[in-house]
């Protein structure tokens, strides 16, 4: 859970930072999208790095879901009779929604790939036109896309808030002195990642990015 999660979190941060390129103008963003396909050239073929990354992410995601499934099955088996009256005492909202939150994020990722990678659901089919795909994809007329995006990113934020700290605890990095700092760091990373991802559709909606 923690190791696969680490890979996914690192990707998310890079992805979020990359997205912010859109604030440097359409040309800069399209150029960034083009560069992603040319990383490692001429040693790697066109999109070679992307495919290596995709395979790596798929493995990490697979392991993450597999670990989550094992933990969920074990949890079900460990409490065959439920409480009639159950009250969470401390567990944060984030900690309690890891499983369903993860499912929501998973479905979003599937949709997100069909929308902005394969462009199946996107009005802009040309893969070179990254900026146009974002601007038209988040157009006010497609408000439901933006709504789902916001829901997924906020869910992801909660997932990260508990997940990052929990991962550090699982890897044995945490201790009494560091616990507060690590929890605050997890919150900060979750918040900044969330804000970074949300900045793009809101910039499109307000006309900041054209």
């Amino acid at each position: 859970m923690a190791i696969s999660g680490t890979a996914l979190v690192l990707f998310l941060i890079l992805h979020m930072v990359g997205n912010l390129k859109i604030f440097f103008g359409a040309e800069a963003f399209d150029h960034y999208a083009h560069w992603l396909r040319e990383i490692g050239a001429p040693l790697l073929p066109h999109s070679g790095f992307l495919w290596i990354q995709r395979v790596g992410l798929l493995v990490a995601l697979g392991l993450h879901i597999w670990s989550a499934a094992v933990l969920t099955i074990r949890a079900r088996k460990a409490r065959p009779v439920k409480y009639a009256h159950r009250k969470p005492v401390q567990g944060s909202y984030a900690a309690r929604t890891m499983r369903w939150g993860g499912v929501i994020v998973f479905f979003f990722v599937v949709y997100h790939i069909l929308d902005l990678t394969t462009r199946t659901f996107n009005p802009v089919a040309d893969p070179a036109q990254a900026n146009a795909a974002i601007v038209q994809g988040f157009a006010p007329g497609r408000w439901y896309v933006t709504a789902f995006y916001v829901l997924a990113v906020v869910t992801l934020g909660f997932h990260l808030r508990h997940g990052i700290w929990s991962g550090l605890q699982t890897l044995g990095v945490s201790n009494a002195r560091r616990e507060r700092v690590l929890k605050a760091t997890a919150f900060a990373v979750a918040f900044v990642t969330c804000a970074g991802f949300l900045a793009v559709p809101f910039a499109v909606l307000t006309g900041l990015v054209k």
Partner: protein
């Protein structure tokens, strides 16, 4: 005080069990929670009914026998308090109180509110000990221990093994209990020889007993009557990581 009690009644391990409602009058706010149940049981006995079975022993908060999930919280609403040290003044007149046993596959119900906690013994037997030469007691300070380590080890050693951590855990995990013993022994020089085998063996025994996996929700530490910190689990994880590396 008058109370409406909804208590889990289950004749034996095979019985399906259900929540049964009892009205109880004239409860003194100075009674402990267990004394309140004693009053109920006296009445049930006089009425020729089967009294409610519940675990208890020292009634001073140190033995770890009392259990009870009270209104959804193991050991009730007070922080760092065992059920026997919980007093009725923390409840209000006319309140409905739900009383259930610990719910975990590893802690099967024996009768009513009594559960079998021998799964914890299995975890301790797997590694919760040190090997020491027999003979007379060693000289005091023969093996110096830094004060901070001694304090942290003592804090972990105050675990009374009641099982509230398992009862509160959404995963039914016994990780806080296991981690308390790993921390207690791992901080002492006497605990070093078995440090690596201890963590592996205890985790294996924990998993075999049917406890769930830890997802760091922190429910355990918040209901722990001894306030065993979540940090102990990080220490367990670190020991586990180091033990795996040493083994490979």
């Amino acid at each position: 005080m008058s109370l409406k009690l909804r208590i889990w009644r289950q004749a034996d391990a095979q019985d399906k069990g259900s929540m049964v409602t009892y009205q109880l009058q004239n409860v003194s706010p100075d009674m402990s929670f267990l004394e309140m149940l004693d009053v109920l049981n006296e009445r049930l006995t006089l009425d020729g009914e089967d009294p409610v079975a519940f675990d208890h022993d020292c009634r001073e908060g140190i033995c770890g026998m009392c259990s009870l999930v009270i209104n959804g919280i193991p050991h009730g609403p007070e922080k760092a308090t065992t059920t026997c040290q919980l007093h009725m003044r923390h409840f209000t007149d006319g309140q409905t109180i739900d009383i259930e046993p610990w719910r975990a596959a590893a802690f099967p119900v024996v009768k009513d509110l009594v559960v079998d906690r021998r799964a914890f013994d299995k975890i301790i037997q797997a590694g919760g000990y040190i090997s020491a030469p027999t003979g007379s007691a060693p000289d005091a300070h023969a093996s110096p221990v830094p004060k901070a380590d001694a304090d942290a080890a003592f804090e972990a050693a105050t675990c009374i093994g009641c099982g509230a951590c398992v009862a509160a855990c959404p995963n039914g995990s016994g990780m806080l209990f296991t981690a308390a013993k790993i921390t207690h022994l791992g901080l002492m020089p006497q605990g070093q020889p078995e440090r690596h085998t201890r963590v592996i063996d205890m985790i294996n025994a924990h998993d075999e007993a049917g406890f769930g996996g830890c997802t760091n929700t922190g429910e355990c530490t918040s209901v722990c009557p001894k306030g065993i910190p979540l940090e102990t689990i990080a220490r367990l994880n670190k020991d586990y990581r180091q033990a795996l590396r040493a083994a490979s």
